[in-house]
Symmetry: C2
Subunit: 135 residues, 2 copies
DNA sequence: TTCATCTGTAATTTTTAATATTACAGTACA
DNA sequence: TGTACTGTAATATTAAAAATTACAGATGAA
């Protein structure tokens, strides 16, 4: 189990809700209710994708890296290491078995199709859309 | 991480590949390369959904519970406890924060939409289709 | 020009979930 | 009645996620 996607969306939603302000990892962690270091770590990743800007030093903090309308949920999904939607087995099927020999390939293919489906769906939702749900 | 879906599909694929025969948990486990008890456990679950039949006692074993053409990948997905596609955070957002107060609800909504999308996709693929990939 | 407050990141510990293993009762057939 | 299976509980092991600790570096303000 892994909650990075939810954490990432939570962070982005907070930044979107308070435009112009720099929010600290401590403040963000307080809203999510997790450790500030995890917030900084997750942001460190999101920053690579331009989704978040950061400013170091006193009075530093975080803000959105681009307009909320431009941020697609699929961008977040891609940026965050979400585990494969169908799960991920760690066994190594028996190559001496005709089924075991090929199944990983076919399962991967299936996983890839599902992944594309998810991304297509998430492309239709922006951070702005998501933020609009909060009244 | 959780490989139950892959395990389930592997089991079903084996049963589909050897129709009429009863396969033992030991044989199945050998192909998947996991512990036989896990196979029996997973089958115990799939059996509840009618996807697999079992026969106890000497010369017992497992067979498909219905025609491979009738088994949809979405049935397997629903039967198996696949973790939510977007992951699952275990934090409890701060209810004193306007965002924290509502976000779980909105994230759940999003997760549900994605889940439907996945199921719709998996409805289009039967076990027979999947089995046909093996030559 | 130094203090306070922040980010960035590494290293470690703790917690939790997944998987493996052991054990054995119950069933069915020969 | 012995053998080869399933069914399932209990426990141990492994691996992944999250929390924590620690501290260097940046920046602004007193």
């Amino acid at each position: 189990m892994n909650g990075q996607f939810q954490i990432a969306v939570h962070i982005l939603t907070l930044l979107n809700a308070q435009p112009g302000e720099l929010l600290s990892s401590e403040y963000i962690a307080g809203s999510i209710n997790i450790n500030p270091v995890l917030v900084r770590k997750e942001i460190s990743n999101l920053r690579k994708y331009g989704l978040i800007d950061s400013k170091e030093g006193k009075a530093g903090g975080y803000s959105l890296g681009m307009a909320a309308k431009k941020i697609l949920m699929s961008d977040v999904y891609k940026a965050v290491k979400v585990q494969p939607a169908l799960g991920q087995a760690k066994n190594k099927p028996n190559p001496a078995c005709p089924v075991g020999k090929q199944i990983s390939e076919h399962l991967d293919e299936l996983a890839e199709e599902v992944n594309s489906t998810i991304i297509n769906k998430l492309k239709t939702i922006t951070l702005a859309d998501f933020g609009d749900k909060f009244n």
